[in-house]
Amino acid sequence: MVTVEFLGPIGKEPMNLDVRSLQELKEQLHKDPALTQWLANSSVAINDELVNDMNTLLNDGDKVVLLPPVCGG
């Protein structure tokens, strides 16, 4: 199980998903049409480390967060 959190304006409750890879996660998340636009422009962190590699493995208990476009200041 991994938990997935949707930050900032995405405005969706956290989910628990039984996925073992980013590929599986991606497939699960694309089932929600409201997420499509956010998946296109959000970054991904696993256990609070940003990831760039689709081959990164997911382990049981990992926390994944989706970070949509930012604007601080």
């Binding site: 930050l7 900032g8 998946l39 970054s43 609070d48 990831v51 760039n52 476009p69 604007c71 200041g73």
Partner: protein
């Protein structure tokens, strides 16, 4: 050092505290930036969400860079609502010489705008509206596209 405040950043106290903490430490230059909410586009203020764990690692990576030049970064930012003419962001750097400070603060603030995990909302007619048009995808965005 990174400090987050509910609502506006107390600018004078913050600058004073940073200056006091460092004046005896032989830095020759202190460059700082204060961002204040402008009255424009009919907004009543801005509001911010922050994802603190990633913000702290982002900040630490800049602190690491600064350390190589014997410099040190400070930053304060608001969470939640900040009204017109209040300040939401203060950044500062102490460095031995001014050139390093000016250049690093500039690069820091640019990267902050692009990569710090902070989300901005306009407060308008009592609503909180995501500032989509002014927001930038972070590094690595679209991985799960």
């Amino acid at each position: 050092m990174l400090e987050l405040f509910e609502g506006r950043v107390p600018v004078e106290k913050t600058l004073e505290k940073w200056y006091q903490a460092n004046k005896e430490r032989n830095y020759g230059a202190f460059v700082s930036f204060v961002g204040t909410i402008r009255d424009e586009e009919g907004i009543e203020g801005l509001s911010f969400d922050i994802y603190e764990p990633v913000l702290r690692s982002w900040f630490e990576s800049w602190q690491e860079k600064a350390r190589k030049d014997n410099a040190i970064f400070y930053m304060a930012h608001s969470k939640g609502d900040v009204l017109l003419h209040e300040s939401s962001y203060v950044a500062g750097i102490f460095s031995p010489k001014r050139r390093v400070g000016l250049e690093m603060l500039d690069a820091f603030v640019e990267d902050f705008k692009a990569n710090a995990p902070i989300w901005k909302y306009d407060l308008k007619n009592g609503q909180r509206i995501y500032a989509a048009d002014r927001s930038t995808p972070m590094e690595g965005a679209g991985l799960l596209k």
